[in-house]
């Protein structure tokens, strides 16, 4: 069975795919990642991770529209699958439960339940 836990980078990308929705293709995701996290990455790294997430069954993809900026080439649009969504939720719940067990944070009444 394939590894179903998520790494940090993987989790971020998965969320970004959800956010970008119909515009979720490698280049856009990489741009979005850089602008939101101010961390540098490359399209290749993103593509590789997206590929891995697809293999795990968290993402599906299909070829989408083409634009002139791409030299008329089509882009591969990624979508989160149900299992991807479940994994994201599980990951979030787990972290929240950890936060709740930490008295210092819990006392500060920080609300992480978005």
């Amino acid at each position: 069975m394939k590894e179903t836990r998520l790494g940090d980078f993987e989790e971020t990308l998965l969320l970004l795919v959800g956010i970008l929705d119909m515009e979720a293709y490698a280049f856009k995701i990489a741009e979005e990642f850089e602008s939101q996290t101010t961390r540098a990455t490359s399209i290749g790294a993103v593509h590789s991770t997206l590929n891995r997430l697809s293999e795990k069954g968290f993402l599906t993809s299909e070829m989408g529209a083409s634009t002139a900026a791409r030299g008329g080439r089509r882009k591969r649009i990624y979508t989160i699958t149900a299992s991807g969504q479940r994994t994201l939720e599980a990951s979030r719940d787990f972290k929240v439960s950890l936060w709740n067990q930490f008295p210092a944070f819990a006392g500060a009444k920080l609300n992480f339940n978005v």
Partner: protein, 877 residues
């Protein structure tokens, strides 16, 4: 935005590099993404930055998931291979008869090729068990007599001693070995065995690197010491270490066991030795290590690495000749070294020159046969595959229409050939395992099962692949070349030309088979021819033995009396050499006063007893046997027919011979009788001129058993008497007729191998023919049906179907006869004196046999097709 930037494009070279390593199915999206990135960067930053970034992105695609060199999970390569195998298996299961003919034929061919390969390897690795294989030499000598040069390997002890004393700078080790394997009785406690072994100088075991199990290689330093082979040691001492134990030789001498060596492999010079004892012990009391007139030693040495064999040869030649002085000047001796590498395969000399030996010829001959049989089997495979091509034409057509490439079809046929040859290979391994013991026995070899031999597997598997390649090449090239439209429309007809290769292959196969049949019969004829020669004595009803007792001669009269009294024995004769050997040669005879040169002719000389002639059953042509009534018979001789002819005497009885060999005073002998030639040596050579003296000391005993007595009755009685007279010596008798039969061993071996090969060739050829015939019958099912409906008889149809093949086989006969004739007359020319003529009937029988096999094979299919119900064959359309 800078307008000029609009026309900037991503770096070409980076793009090309990307495409070089990137998986084809990712190209579109990746190039698109990178383009987008490039233009976005270009808008914000300089062109250089954008270009650099593009390179950066390209390098970041150097990841496993994007490489085209990594197997894509979408690739269909493995699928195609699986598919090929599946189709091949289905083909195999669908045509069970064809497949089993194919696989069985190939397996037979492979087994034969492997057997022969093992045999050839065994021959080529002869003596390689010795560590010093490359540096051991034997001293040989060429004698010329009357212009004839003969090469000889026995030297005098003086020569060996001279070598070991004066040539130490060239030889690391030197050892003399008694120039004949010696038979002795060895006993320990109550166990006694007659064994063969050699007497050797102390450096021998080290030089020949005897593989020691117990003791060391220094074991031959003491006078009374002996080294035993492992199997003899087991027989005498069981599994214990026998070093320092004592064995008794010939019931007379006690020898200390100083070592046990592992049995020597069958393909080595000293294979027959089950013991080695010392040469000093052999010579003790009757000869010295420095004699120059008795050639009874082999001389071996291990050359120093820096010594050149030719130089040392000539040095030795000079040294020996100097020592021999003028005494043997007329013999014109030449001494030279023969390296161990040449001993087995390359040591036949004619007129003092090395010639291609029979052994080498046999290696070539069997090698060629092995290759032929394998080729025959491959041909069958190709033949059957092409024959079925028309059936598979539709398959090829459809495959091509669907888009199959020619290379894929070729792969399909190769995979099929590989599968078949793999199955055949498995089968042939089983066959090999089963047939190796039999093969060893027939060929007189000791080849062990090769399963733990890495190079055997390497070769065998390579050989399987080559076979598959060879066998698959023709169908692969031929079947894949079909035009799909023609094949599918059904207008595909192989036509006359397509059948030509098939016919050529059939002719080729049968030519080889017929040549082999003719060869087998001729080899048999040759053996029969020699067997039918008059033997000159009667081996039947006679037993021979060599009593290993020091008191043999002394107690002989007692034994004779005792045996005579049993009533089972007609005569007891004795001689100094065996009747089955040609040992004992002497010159120095003179019978014609006018021609003194005759002393140069040498005669086979043996000493016999009064009753020898009666015991062995010699046939007198003239004169009489030795008789106790005439004391002058002490100076009488018997001669044989060849001697009479050689001496050119018309009426030799009563003639006087003077006899003056180098070791004896001159004496006069009267010829008492002339006997028919006896075949003592090879029955394939003419008999030697021979002179028989009345002797006093003997080593061989011949007992003629009375005609009225059965062997099973007589032998126990004789044995009891023998043991009474000679309690120390075992009663190791041989039947003289069996001993005589051993002389045919080499030829019988050729004969049984030739039989084996020709039977195989016939089986393989007829398997092929059977497959082809059934194919043809199937092809013509409809034609036969229509003919039958129109009134053709079964015999009509039968001849229709058989005619083609019969013609082919007749053609093979025409080709085979001259080939067989030239090959066999070459083989027979090796037998200069005793040679069977080549009878025409041999060729006729071989041809008729081949035809018969063809007719039977083809008829089976033809009749099956001819008697089939035409309704069945016609309704299918």
């Amino acid at each position: 935005m800078d307008q000029s930037k609009k026309h900037t494009t991503p770096p070409r070279f980076a793009e090309r590099f990307l495409l070089w390593f990137l998986k084809a199915d990712l190209a579109e999206e990746v190039l698109g993404d990178l383009d987008e990135k490039f233009y976005v960067t270009l808008e914000k930053k300089s062109e250089r930055r954008a270009r650099r970034n593009y390179w950066y992105q390209v390098f970041n695609y150097l990841r496993p998931f994007a490489f085209k060199f990594f197997r894509s999970k979408y690739s269909n390569n493995t699928t195609m291979i699986k598919h090929n195998f599946k189709v091949s298996l289905r083909q195999l299961m669908k045509n069970k008869v064809y497949s089993s003919i194919n696989i069985g034929g190939l397996a037979l061919g492979m087994t034969v090729a492997m057997l022969i390969g093992l045999w050839v390897t065994d021959e080529l690795t002869y003596n390689k068990n010795h560590d010093n294989y490359n540096s051991i030499v034997q001293v040989l000598r060429n004698d010329s007599w009357n212009g004839e040069i003969s090469t000889n390997n026995s030297l005098t002890t003086g020569m060996g001693t001279l070598l070991s004393e004066n040539f130490r700078n060239h030889f690391e080790q030197v050892a003399m070995v008694r120039a004949r394997i010696e038979q002795r009785t060895l006993s320990h406690d109550d166990k006694k065995f007659t064994q063969q072994g050699y007497f050797m100088q102390p450096e021998g075991p080290e030089m020949f690197s005897l593989p020691m199990k117990y003791g060391s290689r220094d074991g031959l330093k003491e006078l009374r010491s002996i080294m035993l082979s492992e199997s003899l040691s087991k027989k005498l001492f069981g599994d214990t270490n026998p070093v320092n134990e004592v064995v008794r030789m010939n019931a007379e001498w006690d020898l200390k066991v100083t070592g046990v060596y592992e049995d020597l492999p069958k393909n080595s010079e000293f294979k027959a030795a089950s013991y080695f004892s010392t040469i000093d012990f052999y010579l003790e009391g009757w000869a010295s290590l420095n004699s120059w007139n008795n050639s009874n030693m082999y001389v071996y040495g291990k050359l120093n690495p820096e010594s050149n064999i030719d130089e040392v040869s000539s040095l030795i030649d000079d040294a020996f000749k100097e020592r021999l002085e003028a005494s043997e000047e007329d013999n014109n001796l030449l001494f030279f070294l023969n390296p161990m590498t040449e001993w087995h395969l390359n040591s036949e000399f004619v007129d003092g020159k090395r010639v291609t030996s029979k052994t080498t010829l046999f290696v070539w001959f069997y090698g060629a046969i092995g290759a032929f049989v394998l080729v025959l089997a491959c041909i069958n495979f190709m033949n059957l595959s092409t024959a079925r091509s028309e059936k598979r034409a539709k398959e090829v057509g459809i495959r091509k229409t669907v888009g199959s490439l020619r290379s894929q079809l070729i792969a399909q046929f190769y995979v099929e050939a590989l599968l078949y040859s793999f199955l055949a290979f498995g089968l042939s391994l089983l066959l090999l395992k089963a047939s190796l013991p039999w093969f060893n026995q027939t060929s007189g070899k000791g080849i062990s099962q090769p399963w733990d031999n890495g190079s055997f597997w390497l070769l065998a598997i390579g050989f399987m692949l080559v076979t598959a390649l060879l066998a698959g090449s023709y169908p692969a090239a031929y079947l894949s070349s079909f035009r799909p439209i023609k094949a599918l429309k059904g207008t595909f007809a192989a036509g006359k030309r397509a059948a030509i290769p098939r016919k050529v292959l059939v002719v080729f196969q049968f030519t080889i088979s017929i040549v082999l049949i003719i060869g087998t019969i001729t080899v048999n004829n040759q053996i029969q021819f020699a067997k039918n020669r008059p033997v000159g004595y009667s081996p039947e009803g006679m037993i021979s033995l060599r009593p290993a007792s020091p008191e043999f001669n002394k107690k002989l009269p007692v034994l004779k009396d005792e045996l005579a009294r049993t009533g089972f024995v007609d005569a007891v004769g004795t001689s100094n050499y065996a009747v089955t050997s040609t040992l004992g040669w002497n010159g120095g005879f003179q019978w014609d006063d006018e021609n003194p040169n005759t002393t140069n002719i040498s005669f086979n000389t043996i000493n016999i007893s009064y009753d020898y002639a009666e015991a062995v059953g010699m046939e007198f042509i003239a004169g009489r046997n030795f008789s106790r009534e005439f004391p002058t018979d002490q100076n009488g001789v018997l001669i044989n027919r060849s001697a009479m002819e050689r001496m050119q005497l018309q009426d030799p009885v009563g003639k006087v011979l003077s006899y003056n060999p180098s070791w004896k005073e001159l004496d006069q002998y009267t010829v008492l009788g002339v006997v028919e030639d006896m075949i003592k040596g090879s029955p394939f050579e003419s008999t030697n001129q021979s002179v028989m003296f009345l002797g006093k000391r003997f080593s061989w005993l011949y007992i003629r058993i009375a005609q009225h007595a059965s062997l099973s009755e007589a032998i126990p009685v004789i044995e009891a008497k023998f043991n009474e007279v000679y309690p120390d010596a075992p009663f190791d008798f041989q039947f003289a007729d069996e001993e005589y039969a051993k002389k045919f061993e080499a030829e019988e071996r050729i004969s049984s191998l030739a039989k084996f090969f020709s039977v195989l060739a016939i089986i393989i050829s007829s398997l092929g023919l059977f497959g082809l015939a059934s194919y043809v019958a199937e092809q013509r099912t409809k034609e036969i049906g229509i003919r039958k409906v129109l009134g053709a008889s079964v015999s009509n149809l039968w001849s229709l179907l058989s005619k083609d093949f019969t013609l082919l086989v007749i053609l093979s006969c025409v080709i085979a006869v001259p080939i067989a004739y030239s090959v066999l007359s070459g083989w027979l020319s090796g037998y200069e004196e005793i040679r069977t003529p080549m009878y025409w009937w041999v060729f006729a029988v071989a041809g008729a046999g081949a035809l018969l096999i063809t007719v039977v094979t083809v008829s089976f299919q033809a009749i099956k097709a001819a008697v089939a119900n035409p309704v069945k064959s016609l309704r299918s359309e």
